[in-house]
Subunit: 344 residues, 2 copies
């Protein structure tokens, strides 16, 4: 392994100069820099990250925490973040909570973030008050994406979940539906999200604005994924007097609903209309109407907001550092799964 001394010797300068030249600091003459770069190239020198981190105090890594990397939204967000971070020269440490409370505790309580990263991105991660204290003690910059828990001092990028749900519900109302069910995530999940709470809220708001009273019998909770959508819909149908339309809290739940409806012999949209939120990569294939949310943009923007203060001088952030959350727009996409209720 060639070290910085080898480069220094070959270039005929001190290790301090090699260090400066290689990092592109301005305090090196063009000629010296050229000599150093050539020597490093010739020796195939690569700086030791551990040594650099220990001496410099920066890790060059960012931790990204997601509930489940296998879900559409999180996969897309991570892809966008990964691209941005690597282009900026940062490593990405992935933490997938996998829906298990135990994993969140391992991440936060033990020292798995401590001195390991320069910043943290929390995607849709709910935090207990004790977790907030832990994070504050870590004294790291961070950003939150999507609903979850806001962290004081961290910027946040997300959509307006309440408004998205309102739009979805209103679309069904506009088509003439009155018995509109809602299927969403279970607050008893070990790792409860908060997105589905906001979405239920928007559903209720839209119903009330149309003069309807939310019917608890039309409101079923289950897991926030495909299987959860199937279970919730089965439960809904078991209750009798099925709705003419279902608003699923996310596209994956809507897809699960599709299975349950088909198994029950109900056609979409002739018997039941169905709408979700996301615009999942497969929603087009399934003809699913939905509220599209920009996942790539949320990831990219969050990465940008996270790195921005890390690069520039302290406090020189050019982007909305903390303050109010950045809300990205959503949009109604009408496909084949929503239609007026049967006139009968």
């Amino acid at each position: 392994m060639t070290r910085i001394d080898d480069v220094a010797r070959l270039a005929g300068v001190s290790t301090a100069t090699v260090s400066r030249a290689l990092r592109g600091l301005p305090t090196v003459s063009a000629q010296t820099r050229r000599r150093v770069l050539a020597a490093a190239e010739q020796l195939q020198y690569a700086v030791s990250p551990s040594a650099s981190r220990l001496a410099g105090g920066r890790t060059g890594a960012v931790a990204v925490v997601v509930p489940r990397i296998t879900r559409w939204f999180f996969g897309v967000v991570v892809e966008a973040v990964e691209d941005f971070l690597h282009q900026a020269g940062y490593d990405l440490l992935l933490h997938n909570l996998g829906g298990r409370e135990q994993n969140r505790q391992r991440l936060l309580r033990t020292a798995n973030l401590h001195k390991r990263v320069d910043a943290v991105m929390l995607v849709a991660t709910p935090l207990h008050p004790a977790d907030l204290t832990t994070l504050a003690a870590l004294d790291l910059p961070g950003v939150t994406v999507s609903s979850g828990t806001d962290v004081p001092g961290w910027p946040c990028v997300r959509i307006d979940d309440v408004a998205a749900a309102r739009t979805a519900t209103r679309h069904l109302l506009d088509l003439g539906h009155r018995r509109i069910a809602h299927i969403s995530g279970d607050p008893d999940d070990e790792l409860a999200f908060t997105a589905h709470l906001d979405r239920r809220h928007g559903y209720h708001e839209a119903l009330r604005a149309a003069g309807l009273r939310p019917d608890p019998g039309l409101d079923v909770e289950s897991g926030f994924d495909i299987a959860g959508g199937t279970r919730a819909t089965e439960e809904l149908l078991r209750r009798g007097d099925p709705p003419t339309a279902i608003f699923a809290a996310c596209d994956e739940m809507a897809m699960g609903a599709l299975t349950a409806l088909r198994d029950a012999g109900l056609r979409v949209p002739q018997d039941v209309s169905l709408i979700g939120i996301d615009d999942h990569a497969l929603s087009g294939v399934l003809g699913l109407s939905t509220i599209a949310q920009p996942a790539t943009e949320q990831g990219r923007l969050a990465a940008e907001m996270l790195l921005d203060p890390l690069c520039g001088p302290a406090g020189a952030s050019t982007i909305n550092a903390a303050g109010s959350p950045v809300i990205l727009p959503t949009r109604l996409v009408v496909r084949d799964s929503t239609a007026p209720p049967r006139a009968n």
Copy 2:
């Protein structure tokens, strides 16, 4: 930040002893260990990874390289690997090539792996001969998952792609199909996979075994994803005289085919049968017949094979270290997208 000296002072021992006690080395008396642990706990001490890495030479991190984290197979593999690595106390550095050759070069050519990780996992990553030289120079342990390029000395876990394709094709043949098309990935992709080559091979084998000659007109290449499946199927239909069945190289391509078939007014399976490979989370929802492959198991097993030699004494690997690849079984899953051809 409390350092190891603080703990040593409080426990009344040397830093060497603290280091040993905290890492669970056997050469520490039970009593001393207890005192050290208590002191560390009391001071909320967390070892500095950078210092530990520099002094000890181990990074405690593993790089995982995938083509696209948003694709079903890679998401599931990463989820399994993440879980295993974190349980073993390793960090996971995620590299998502995003289908861009440039990203692979950045990863391999520059020093992004150099001294940063203890091991590398390459999932479905094709390698040029020059890349193999680079990897060899890195002198890191590694493992490959799924088709890609084998690396000398690294173990490999995968399925038998040829056999899987043969089974899929034979299923269609058994149903009575004779005009069986194949849609698969494009070798002109910047980052060519090899899985689809093996799968085409199996398709050809099954046809020949049934006494049929592969028809180039029924063999269309496009991207190895949803959009690619749609494009390939559109091209197939444009050629006229449509097949009675389509074997897609992966479920995501089959899903894309579904859209194209629907748009062309063709019903599945009445007009065209369709089968893929994977057993994607949504294949059940879509009623797609497929060849299921164990993604979680491939990830978990690969992680295990990777870490095993890192923990035990050198060469004491208890698992099939290198040698022949570990082949995991696939299985035919018949749903609603395959049926006998119309008798006409």
